[in-house]
Symmetry: C2
Subunit: 410 residues, 2 copies
C-alpha cells in the first residue's frame, strides 16, 4: 500500500518518522506534499520518496492512500474529495472537515470503493473512535462528556492551582499549546467540531456544527475556581451531548466537575472522553489528545487497519435536531457593588422562572464595590435560567454580567 502524506508539519513528519521506525508490513511511504517543499525535505525517508508541491502529481501517482494533514476546509476538502473520486483511500486528522463534511465524504468513499478513516480527528492518541466503532457498537450510547481541547485543560488546571487566566494563556502560547489567536480553543469551536464527530459515531446523530452552543472559558475568573473548590468541584471545558427521544442536547463550555468524577482527574493537556451506554454503563478513555507523536499514532493505526484490509464498522447516523437544553444544577457567580436587596432581587428573578435556590456562598475578604458571591440552583433548563438572568439584566448593582455554569454529577 503506497502512501502519500499531504502536509509535512509536526504531525506529518511524525507519521513519516513512525513509518520509518516501525516499518509496518505492507505500507510504503512514496510521496510527501508540502508548500515550499524544498525547505521541508529531510534525508531519513525511504530513498524513493517523491517530494512535491503539486497535488495533481499525487493524484496521478500510484499512491493508494493519501494522508491529509494540512487542516482547514480548503484545499484539504477538495484534495480528499478528488482522491476518493479517484478511488484512493484517505486518512485524515482534520476535525473541521470531518465535522462539517464527514457524512458526504463517507458517502463519496463508499461510492468509489475507497475508505475514509479519521481516528486522529478526535483526541489524537486516544483510540476513542476505533473504541466506539469496533468496541461499543453493541451498546446504545446515550451520553458523551469529553475534555477534548488540551489547551483549555492546561489553562483551567493551571488556574485551579492558582494562576491567572492571562498569565497561563501566555505560557500556553509560548509552549506552543495555544495559537496567537486562541479563539478556536478557548471559545470552544475546536472541541465543538470533535463533539459533532463523536455524536455522529456514538449517538448516531448528525448535528449541525453551528447549532451547537459554545461558551468561552475566558469568562472564568480565579474566584470561580475558589468557589468551585468549596463546592467539592473543579472547572473544566466540557463538551457534552445527550440523546433524548426528540433530539440531542449539546453544549461546549466551562462546567463544574466534581473532584470525584474521572473528568476532574485530567491534568495539563490531557484529553478524556466518558461515554455512557444503556447496557455497558460508563466507559472512560484518557491520554494525550494532541501533539505530533500521539496524533501520528492514530494516523499510522488507521494506515495499518487499511493495509490489513480491516474496514471500519460503518454506523449510519441521521440528521438530528440539537438544543442547548440540559436539566442540570447550575452555578451562578455574581460580582456586585454591595447594596441592600440584591439577594431578594435575584431570588425573585429565579422564582419567577420556578428555579429553586440550592445554596448561597459568600467568602469574606473581598472589596464591597466588587464583591463576588455564588448562588447554586437545583436542576433547571438552561433556557429558564437564561430568562431569569435576563430579568436581572443590567441592574445597577451588577459590577459585571453574571456567569452561569452547569454543574455535572458524579
Amino acid at each position: 500500500m503506497k502512501v502519500a502524506i499531504l502536509g509535512f508539519g509536526t504531525v506529518g513528519s511524525s507519521v513519516a518518522r513512525i513509518l520509518c521506525d516501525l516499518k509496518p508490513a505492507g505500507i510504503e511511504l512514496t510521496q510527501v506534499l508540502n508548500r515550499g517543499v524544498a525547505r521541508k525535505r529531510v534525508d531519513w525517508t525511504p530513498p524513493g520518496t517523491h517530494w512535491t508541491e503539486d497535488f495533481e502529481q499525487v493524484l496521478r501517482s500510484d499512491a493508494d492512500v493519501i494522508v491529509e494533514l494540512v487542516g482547514g476546509l480548503e484545499p484539504a476538502g477538495t484534495w480528499v474529495r478528488r482522491a476518493l473520486e479517484a478511488g484512493k483511500s484517505a486518512v485524515t486528522g482534520n476535525k473541521k472537515l470531518i465535522a462539517e463534511h464527514g457524512v458526504e465524504l463517507d458517502r463519496l468513499a463508499r461510492a468509489n470503493g475507497a475508505h475514509l478513516l479519521y481516528g486522529a480527528a478526535v483526541a489524537g492518541g486516544i483510540p476513542v473512535i476505533p473504541g466506539l466503532r469496533q468496541g461499543l457498537a453493541g451498546d446504545r450510547i446515550t451520553r458523551i462528556e469529553g475534555i477534548l481541547n488540551g489547551t483549555c485543560n492546561y489553562i483551567l488546571s493551571r488556574m485551579e492551582a492558582g494562576a491567572a487566566f492571562s498569565e497561563v494563556l501566555c505560557d500556553a502560547q509560548s509552549l506552543g499549546y495555544a495559537e496567537a489567536n486562541p479563539s478556536e480553543d478557548v471559545d470552544g469551536y475546536d472541541a465543538r467540531a470533535k463533539l459533532v464527530i463523536l455524536s455522529r459515531i456514538a449517538l448516531r446523530a448528525g448535528l449541525d456544527v453551528k447549532s451547537v452552543f459554545c461558551r468561552s472559558i475566558t469568562q472564568v475568573d480565579a474566584v470561580d475556581l475558589v468557589y468551585a473548590r468549596d463546592l467539592g468541584c473543579t472547572i473544566r471545558q466540557i463538551a457534552k451531548a445527550e440523546l433524548h427521544p426528540d433530539g440531542v442536547s449539546a453544549m461546549v463550555g466551562p462546567m463544574l466537575v466534581p473532584l470525584r468524577s474521572p473528568l476532574a482527574w485530567s491534568r495539563g493537556t490531557e484529553n478524556m472522553v466518558l461515554v455512557s451506554g444503556q447496557y455497558g454503563g460508563d466507559v472512560v478513555f484518557s491520554g494525550h489528545g494532541a501533539g505530533g507523536h500521539p496524533t501520528a499514532v492514530a494516523v499510522v493505526s488507521d494506515l495499518i487497519s487499511l493495509a490489513h484490509g480491516s474496514r471500519p464498522v460503518d454506523l449510519p447516523s441521521r440528521a438530528t435536531p440539537v438544543s442547548g437544553e440540559f436539566e442540570l444544577r447550575h452555578y451562578i457567580r455574581f460580582i456586585v457593588k454591595d447594596a441592600p436587596g440584591i439577594v431578594a432581587e435575584i431570588a425573585g428573578a429565579l422564582a419567577s422562572e420556578k428555579i429553586n435556590i440550592d445554596a448561597l456562598f459568600q467568602r469574606p475578604g473581598y472589596d464591597k464595590a466588587d464583591l463576588p458571591f455564588v448562588v447554586t440552583v437545583e436542576p433547571c433548563a438552561a433556557s429558564s435560567l437564561r430568562r431569569a438572568l435576563d430579568r436581572i439584566g443590567s441592574a445597577a448593582w451588577l459590577a459585571q454580567p453574571p456567569l452561569d455554569m452547569p454543574m455535572l454529577g458524579e
Copy 2:
C-alpha cells in the same frame, strides 16, 4: 449473518436480549445451545430460534457464527475448533481458552477463511482489545498495567475503607462477585489469563501462561492499607507486563499504587487498563469489566464488526521468554515479636544483596508481640529482594512471613 449462542447464562441471555432490543442490521439469532435447555428457554427470542443441547446440530446448521459463552477449556475449545474448521466464525469471551490456545485458534480461523473475535475476554465492556488493535497498532507499546479482576478490586477498595478481608470476601460472594472458591480471582489466575492476552496484542509477545508469576491478595492485611495510605498510596491487584530487549517481565499481585495514579481511581468492581506507548505516551481505558450486560456489549460489538465485514487487524506475536523481574521500589511489611537487633538483621540481609533502604515506618499502638512495621527499599530486582528475605528466613522474631509488594510510580 446467522448466530448461534452456546451457553445461555448471564452473558448469553444478555447477548440475546441486546440483539432483540437493538436489532443490529444483518444479524439474526437462530440457535441457542445449553445443557438442560428446556429450563433455560425464554419466550422473547425471535420466533424461529432453535433451542438445543446438541452441538452437532449447531455445527450442521446454517449458523455463520457461534458465540461461545460456556467458559473453561473443554468442551468450549473443541466446539470453537470444530466451528472454525467448518468455516464458521467464532466470537468468545473465554479468557482461559484464548490465553492458552489463542495463537493456535487464530491460525485455525485464518486457515479456514473464518474469523475469531474475543473482545469480551478482557475487561468486558471496556473496548481495550479493539482500542489496541485498531487504534494503537501504530504505536510501540512497551508496558501494560491493568486492574483486570473486578472481584479483587472490590475487595481491596473496601479494605481501603477499613473493612477486613474475610468480611469483604463474604459480601463479594453473597453479591455474586466472587465464586464459592475464590482462588481464580484472589490468587491472580483470572487476571493472569487476561494479561497474557493483552501482552499478545499490545506487546506482540506470546507468553506461557503458567510462567507468569502470581501472588495472592489474601496476604494483604488491613495494616498494609494503613501503611500504604501513609506512603500516599493504596493497594490494588495489578497485572503488569513490560517489554525489554530480551523478553518480557510480567506479574500479577497486590501492588502499591500512588493515590495520584489513575490506577488508584478505580472503585468497586471497575476495571482499568493503562498502556504506555513509545510515541503516544500513556492511554487509560476504564469502565465495567464484568457483568452480564457489559460483557454482552463486547460480544455484540464483535458480531456487528463481523456483520459489517470489518476484520480485526491481525498483529503477529512471537513466543517470548517471561520473567517476574521488575526493577521497582518495594514495600516490605514485617510482623514481629519485638526484640533488639531486628532492624540490624533486616538491614544486613538487604545490604548483602546491595538493596538500599529508603525508609522505615512504625506506627504506634500495636502489641509488642505482634508488631507490624514497614521497610521501603529503593528500586531493586525482585529476585535480589527474594534472596534477601530468604536470608531472614525463619528468624525466631518473625510472627509471620514478611510480605513484599512492588510500589508503582505515578
